[in-house]
């Protein structure tokens, strides 16, 4: 069976004044219909860049490697150059929800007008139909007084409501793939719980594929089916959510879990991962995690082991250097 989305050997590099930065290196991922792939990692790990590549939304100084493929619905997105083609993915087959909904809505245009505008671009319908679809969608995401909200501006809505409106807008074109980039990070916990439940319901209802990006392992545990753990532009471990969170193999995944304060286990000490994330300008050769790895094996320390994912259990892939280190600790 072919996947809804398949990313193969993707490198993303940015040309900057200070040199060429490798933001993402050799990433392969896949998402099926009705499946949620969680991508977790700290700031600077390349989560958002990966997601944006799928819509080709990265800025002009971006270069992709030639043998990379992003296959969406049997078409290679990276080959798209014409406006017509790009329109198919941006808002058509793929929609995106961002972290800060205030920044994603135009402040001086009514929410309804923005929703109608994008529907008119992507669907062959008239204004009246677009309006009724939008209002129904606003109702679906749990906004009371949808007709009134339709005629309001983004600043008139509260944070949770704005995020709901954002979700309604992203879903109204019925995308096959939804990219959710930290959609609950700016929200309070009680509102976060509401939004997570809403997203889960909607995925079930519309059977779309989702890439859910977050730095919060708790949120990942609640929504994802599969997880990819990213560090400094590379996937260091990926697999089914249960496997990754209960049986982590890579020292970085283990470190993340130990650094997380757990409310059910208050006696556990908080153990930070030593050191700082290196600048992408001097990305370590070999295993990217070796500068902070608490139990580096001697070969990994010199950067002689190349990054390569190996399947340790069915569906559970771990970087080869990480497997050796993980056994030490």
């Amino acid at each position: 069976m072919s996947h809804l989305l398949e990313v193969k050997n993707l490198d993303v590099k940015f040309d900057t004044d200070e040199g060429r930065i490798t933001a993402v290196e050799n990433i392969s991922l896949s998402v099926d219909q009705g499946e949620v792939l969680g991508i977790v990692g700290e700031s600077g790990s390349g989560k958002s860049v990966t997601a944006k590549s799928i819509m080709k939304l990265n800025p002009g100084n971006t270069s992709y490697n030639e043998d990379a493929e992003i296959i969406l619905d049997n078409e290679n997105v990276l080959q798209f150059t014409s406006k017509q083609d790009l329109k198919k993915i941006r808002g058509g087959k793929v929609s995106m929800i961002f972290q800060e909904p205030m920044a994603s809505f135009a402040p001086a245009i009514k929410i309804g007008a923005q929703m109608v505008e994008q529907l008119l671009i992507h669907k062959n319908i008239n204004k009246e139909e677009a309006k009724s679809i939008s209002i129904n969608m606003l109702k679906r995401v749990g906004i009371a007084d949808a007709e009134k909200r339709f005629n309001q501006y983004a600043f008139e809505l509260s944070g949770g409501m704005r995020q709901r409106a954002m979700i309604a807008m992203a879903l109204s074109t019925m995308p096959k793939l939804l990219l959710a980039d930290e959609p609950t990070t700016a929200l309070d916990v009680t509102i976060q719980a509401q939004v997570i439940n809403l997203i889960k319901d909607i995925i079930k209802e519309y059977q779309m594929g989702v890439i859910f990006i977050t730095h919060d392992l708790g949120v990942i545990a609640q929504v994802a089916d599969h997880v990819a753990v990213m560090y400094l532009g590379s996937v260091v471990e990926k697999g089914p959510v249960n496997e990754i969170l209960k049986n982590p193999k890579h020292p970085y995944t283990k470190g993340l879990l130990q650094a997380l304060p757990d409310i059910n286990n208050l006696d556990a000490p908080l153990s930070p991962i030593p050191g700082n994330i290196p600048s992408p300008l001097d990305r370590p050769t070999g295993c990217v995690f070796r500068t902070r790895c608490p139990h580096h094996n001697p070969e990994g320390k010199d950067g002689k082991i190349e990054m390569k994912l190996i399947e340790v259990e069915p569906g559970h892939w771990v970087d080869q250097c990480g497997i050796k280190c993980g056994q030490n600790g």
Binding site: E42, S43, S158, G159, G160, M161, D188, V189, T190, I191, Q192, A193, Q194, I196, N197, K200, H215, D216, L217, G218, V219, A221, Q222, A224, V241, N242, L245, K246, G255, L256, L257, Q258, A259, L260, P261, D262, I263, L266, L270, S271, P272, I273, N276, I277
Partner: protein, 328 residues
């Protein structure tokens, strides 16, 4: 009152609000009738969602916000300071002894000053040291306590990562030798692996330098880990307060229960046990009369639905206080 450092007595903070120049002046009730005692050497946690008034209360205790009614007493070794009735000299003294660590280490540090100058600034402004040599000594001393590399003192903040910057902010707050620190969401902007490091540092400095913290956060797991006493705020009121273990194991107020259940569990097999709260936090311009939580309460009693029960904490266990609406 020997073992308290800060006593907050019936403190309310209101702000004037006028939508435009012809409309009526209104009052925002940001903080209402708060009573807390912060013991010497304690790690006092203040949790709540955005708009609950936790930052306003923290700033009021530092004298950075005007207190509308009530008073805050700072119990120093020799004398007590009343914040609402303080002369300039006393206020200067108080500023040396009570300091603030901000949330965003990217916004809090001037990009045009070296790390040395950033940390030294409080000493110079408050005229604590007399010579450059003395200043340098104190800067180096506190920098090494905060695990900053002494050789990095001549660099500018842009060369540092988030965690290192937060350590610079901490060093700056501690250089005047304060006794009381308000840490306002000080780890919220950091990645988890760094967050643990900063929390451990704060703990370690507490024992080393005899500090008392007011730790403001929206993250309950963090608060549960580091704080010994916790107060939960909602819409300007404290709805529950107690020793942190007791409060998190045995929450009494429906809001605390809902907050705790909303924390996404790290266990994928334990999905959605969250007590879902309907709607959002009401506006502080016209808070609901009676129990402020009743508009979102999942199991409101008959009395509190009408708003007849006034807000007020009662002690259910020694040291564990719950708002009477939910305690009854």
């Amino acid at each position: 009152m020997g073992d308290n450092l800060i006593s907050v007595n019936n403190v309310s903070v209101n702000f004037d609000y006028q939508e435009n120049f012809i409309s009526k002046k209104q009052k925002i009730h940001a903080v209402n009738n708060i009573n807390i005692k912060i013991k010497k050497g304690s790690f006092f946690g203040l949790v709540g969602e955005s708009g609950s008034g936790k930052t306003t209360l923290g700033r009021a205790i530092l004298g950075a916000n005007k207190i509308s009614s009530g008073n805050v007493i700072f119990h120093d070794d020799e004398k007590d300071y009343d914040l609402t009735d303080m002369n300039k000299q006393d206020l200067k003294e108080y500023r040396k002894k009570a300091q603030l660590i901000f949330q965003d280490p990217y916004a809090a540090l001037s990009p045009r000053m070296t790390v040395r100058d950033i940390i030294a600034e409080p000493l110079e402004v408050m005229k604590i040291t007399n010579s450059r040599q003395e200043t340098d000594e104190r800067v180096r001393d506190i920098a090494s306590k905060c695990r900053l590399n002494i050789e990095h003192l001549r660099r500018f903040p842009h060369a540092f990562s988030g965690g290192q910057r937060q350590r610079i902010s901490i060093a700056r707050a501690l250089v005047s030798n304060p006794k009381f620190i308000v840490a306002d969401e000080s780890v919220a902007a950091l990645d988890v692996s760094i967050q643990a490091d900063i929390l451990n540092l704060l703990k370690q400095l507490q024992t080393e330098l005899n500090l008392t913290y007011l730790f403001i956060s929206h993250d309950l797991s963090v608060v549960a880990h580091v704080c010994d006493v916790v107060a939960v705020m909602y819409l300007g009121h404290i709805v529950e307060m107690g020793p942190s273990r007791e409060l998190f194991k045995n929450p009494k107020h429906s809001y605390t229960k809902a907050l705790l259940s909303s924390i996404p569990s790290i266990d994928p097999e334990k999905r959605s046990e969250a007590i879902e709260l309907k709607g959002e936090i009401p506006s502080a311009l016209n808070p609901p009369p009676g129990c402020v939580f009743r508009t979102r309460c999942p199991n409101p009693g008959v009395d509190c639905k009408g708003g007849e029960i006034k807000m007020g904490l009662i002690e259910v266990e020694p040291g564990h206080w719950v708002d009477q609406c939910c305690a009854l």
